[in-house]
């Protein structure tokens, strides 16, 4: 359990990054634990939300970023709604994930990022979500090709709930605009996270 505190991560570094990107004042957290008490998935998290907040306060990025905590957050906003210090904890969780995906800090859990990547690719290319392709791609990439295909997936197809053709943006011009937009966004995101030109 011993941990050597690093002043630079308390004063600037990690904690500053989280505060800047989430626009939340983490030092406001007085560790009441209300977020952890109401979080529906805290039971499965390595560190419950309040502990995550404390780890940000102390700049413990190595422990927190390699824990499953933020990846297990379902964004249900229960914590945000009830925090007595008006901290948007859900947004902080989002920020941790954004930072992890941008690769600024080390990450361990790889499940969710793969899903996100496919999901956003789908939107980028088609404007909408192409379910069967997505589920397939996800299962392939996460090395679990038959996950969920039986029995739910099959039933879904039988019930006509999943379509085989991608829903497209019909207008090709819109499609190109869409792809261009994603390009611009990616550039801006990197600038922001790595504090370039901002």
């Amino acid at each position: 359990m011993k941990y050597e505190l690093q002043l630079k991560n308390i004063k600037e570094g990690f904690r500053k990054d989280v505060e800047r990107l989430s626009k939340q004042k983490i030092s406001n957290c007085y560790q009441c634990g209300k977020c952890s008490a109401g979080c529906p998935v805290a039971y499965a998290m390595e560190y419950p939300p309040s502990m995550a907040m404390r780890m940000i306060q102390l700049g413990m990025h190595d422990r927190l970023m390699s824990a499953n905590t933020s990846w297990f957050c379902v964004s249900c906003e229960t914590c945000t709604t009830r925090c007595p210090r008006e901290i948007d904890i859900a947004k902080v969780m989002d920020t941790l994930k954004i930072m992890a995906q941008a690769g600024k800090y080390k990450v361990s859990d790889n499940e969710v990022p793969i899903f996100d990547w496919i999901f956003l690719k789908s939107i980028e290319l088609t404007g909408k979500i192409y379910e069967i392709g997505m589920i397939g791609a996800y299962n392939m990439l996460s090395l679990n090709p038959f996950k969920d295909v039986f029995p739910m997936g099959v039933k879904m197809i039988l019930k006509g709930k999943i379509s085989f053709i991608p829903h497209l943006i019909y207008n090709p011009l819109e499609m190109i605009k869409n792809i261009m937009m994603f390009r611009k966004i990616r550039k801006k995101d990197r600038e922001r996270i790595y504090e370039k030109n901002v």
């Binding site: 634990g33 209300k34 008490a37 805290a42 210090r85």
Partner: protein, 669 residues
């Protein structure tokens, strides 16, 4: 030419740590009229004041500037110093280089020093135009008004009366006693609240120096220290002085539609009632909004059964005018209304109760005769969860402060529950335990160690009903675990807040209050029971949450202040008042119309030989020096002593000029 002395204070490092005081003193020497300038470590200390007096003698000074802290802090001190040096006290000005400079500009010492020089220069400019003023005195009405009959008001009234002064105690409820009367036993000694309070209530009723006015409220206040003119509304009780308190009317009254405020709405009460059996005075009142007779014209049972003919339906509200020399305000507190907490059921789950309701349940003269049962189904309880800091330390609910007593009363309540029912189990959810007081920490430890109360460190996120049980979802941050407790009852440690009408009362007296409505003391440390309004004192929970020992100490302190005031024959008042120059007055009556104190009268006066004009005149004993007349007079015929046009204009001039170049030269050398 004036002979001015400038005294620059270091205030230890409070000022000198930021401002280069030597440079300020040096700069003073360059200002016209300044004959001496001295800096010293603590100017308000005895040697500091002696330095001032010696300098006045040595340099033959006729006026001085003390460049130190706020005049609100030490103006009085240095006026007395002036007197001791044989000078008129109003020829002294303070330059506030602490609160207004060193403490707020500590980020840039150079700019702070320059500003300190400027602030000092402005005071020098002002004092140059100061005039000697003669002292004024006012008489004192040696009667005190105490508002609020909780333990604070009771104690203040008893102490003032003991010194031989008359007191009127005004209480808006039908009985005195306040919140303490509602409590069961009190921490940290667990003695019974009623047992220690009732004797004091009786003492109030029997004291010939105390006039008790219950069911009454202050509605209007004029005047000032020594001479407050107060209007008190005595609400109609519908029961007159023939009442002997036999209680037959209460027993026979068929109307029990209202809920007892005293029992925190846990039980009904009659339309004619005393809040509780030991009420003082033991005279019932009729709640006209709910009485059958007042609503429908039929009933009158109470009148029929009363053996003394004390029922008087025709009574009217009465306005009583009284004069007082001093006022003690002790209006106490309400508890936070947890219907703002959706996660705790919007106040709609019956078995989630407030701390005060729990006190009533514990109390053997309470609605359940001391049986702790669930309000929903009157079943006895086994598992009880206590949640601390409800409506306290919660910015999201706009109550960021700590309510100071709830950690303690929660421990108390958990212990009392165990005393009543050894087979029960209590769980306390807390964030921190604040138990600073004599024997307080030991008390909380006892709850944990001897009474087996389980303390869990975390705020509860949600309470909901499952069947007959309440599910409490909390956390224990120390172990990092989510915990769920199945409870029969949940008791919230509701925070303390001022009475809902506290602001209105403050406005009657022009007292200041904070954003919650708690009254502001004159100084948080050195004048904790005085207010900015001289002659008005405050005690108890209307200032901030506190326990009974602190409340009583404050109440006695207000009594000491009142007695000190009354012990004087006359009272010195500041002569900083307005004066009209009849030669320039055009008789427009503007000032007459704006003066909030009616301190201006119009008279026909011979201003020059043979020239009789209609002009304004200030009644000196009435003028409070607000300056409204000065700000309104188009002819500049009225001026304010101590803040005269010439003084302020001089300050403006100094404020807008650059520092003289001399200092710059010196600082570069």
């Amino acid at each position: 030419m004036a002979r001015i002395g400038v005294f620059v204070c270091h205030c230890g490092t409070n000022i000198a740590g930021v401002v280069d005081v030597a440079r300020v003193a040096k700069y003073a020497e360059s200002l016209p009229g300044v004959r001496a300038s001295i800096d010293y470590k603590y100017m308000c200390s005895d040697p500091g004041q002696n330095t001032v007096i010696e300098a006045i003698k040595k340099y033959n000074l006729d006026r001085i500037v003390v460049s130190a802290c706020s005049p609100r802090m030490h103006e009085g001190t240095f006026r007395k110093t002036m007197e001791r040096a044989g000078l008129n006290p109003y020829l002294m000005e303070m330059a506030n280089i602490r609160e207004h400079v060193s403490w707020v500009h500590s980020d840039d010492k150079e700019l702070a020093t320059q500003k300190a020089m400027k602030v000092m220069e402005m005071a020098v400019a002002k004092v140059r135009r100061s005039e000697a003023l003669s002292k004024m005195y006012a008489s004192i009405e040696k009667r005190a008004l105490v508002i609020g009959g909780g333990i604070a008001g009771i104690q203040a009234a008893i102490d003032i009366a003991a010194a031989g002064y008359k007191v009127v105690l005004v209480e808006k409820e039908p009985s005195i006693g306040g919140r303490m009367a509602q409590l069961d036993k009190t921490f940290p000694t667990l003695d019974c609240s009623a047992c220690i309070l009732t004797p004091k209530m009786v003492a109030v009723a029997q004291d010939p120096n105390i006039t008790l006015m219950t069911y009454a409220e202050v509605v209007e206040v004029c005047g000032y220290v020594g001479q407050f003119d107060v209007k008190i509304k005595q609400k109609a009780k519908s029961v007159n002085s023939k009442c002997i308190g036999c209680g037959v009317c209460i027993t026979k009254c068929p109307n029990k539609k209202s809920l007892s405020e005293f029992n925190e709405k846990l039980a009904p009460r009659k339309a004619i009632y005393t809040p509780f059996p030991q009420a003082v005075p033991n005279v019932p009142v009729i709640d006209r909004e709910n009485c059958t007779f007042f609503k429908t014209g039929k009933c009158k049972i109470c009148e029929k059964v009363c053996p003394t003919g004390a029922i008087e339906y025709s009574q009217q509200d009465e306005i009583i005018k009284e004069k007082f020399g001093a006022v003690v305000v002790a209006t106490g507190f309400n508890i936070y209304d947890h219907s703002n907490y959706g996660e705790y059921g919007y106040g709609e789950i019956k078995d989630v109760i407030t701390s005060l309701q729990f006190e009533r349940l514990l109390n053997s003269s309470g609605p359940t005769d001391g049986h702790v049962v669930r309000p929903s189904d009157h079943k006895e309880v086994k598992n009880v969860v206590f949640i601390q800091c409800v409506g306290s330390r919660d910015e999201a609910k706009h109550r960021p402060y700590c309510s100071r007593v709830c950690c303690m009363y929660t421990a108390k309540q958990a212990m009392l529950l165990k005393d009543h029912y050894p087979e029960t189990q209590s769980y306390v959810f807390y964030i921190d335990i604040r138990s600073a007081g004599k024997n307080y920490e030991e008390f909380v430890q006892r709850a944990q160690n001897d009474y087996g109360v389980v303390y869990l460190r975390g705020r509860v996120s949600k309470i909901f009903e499952r069947g007959e049980k309440l599910i409490v979802k909390g956390a224990d941050t120390l172990s990092g675990a989510q915990v769920e407790v199945e409870a029969d009852m949940v008791v919230l440690a509701n925070g303390l807040e001022p009475r809902s009408h506290a602001k209105e009362l403050a406005q009657l007296f022009h007292m200041s209050y904070d954003q919650y409505g708690f009254y502001n003391e004159l100084h948080p440390k050195l004048a904790p029971v005085e207010t900015a309004i001289s002659g008005v004192y405050v005690a108890g929970c209307c200032i901030s949450p506190k326990d009974i020992p602190d409340t009583v100490a404050q109440a006695s302190a207000t009594a000491a202040k009142v007695c000190a005031l009354f012990a004087k024959e006359k009272m010195e008042v500041e002569p900083l008042i307005a004066a009209v120059n009849p030669l320039t007055c055009s008789g427009c009556e503007t000032c007459y119309n704006v003066c909030p104190y009616s301190a201006i009268e119009m008279e026909d006066k011979e201003v020059k030989r043979g020239d009789v004009r209609h002009v304004a005149k200030v009644i000196e004993s009435v003028c409070k020096g607000c300056g409204a007349c000065v700000g309104s007079c188009y002819c500049k015929a009225v001026d304010l002593k101590g803040f005269s046009d010439r003084q302020v204009m001089n300050q403006i001039e100094a404020a807008t000029q650059e520092l003289s170049t001399k200092d710059k030269l010196q600082s570069t050398i």
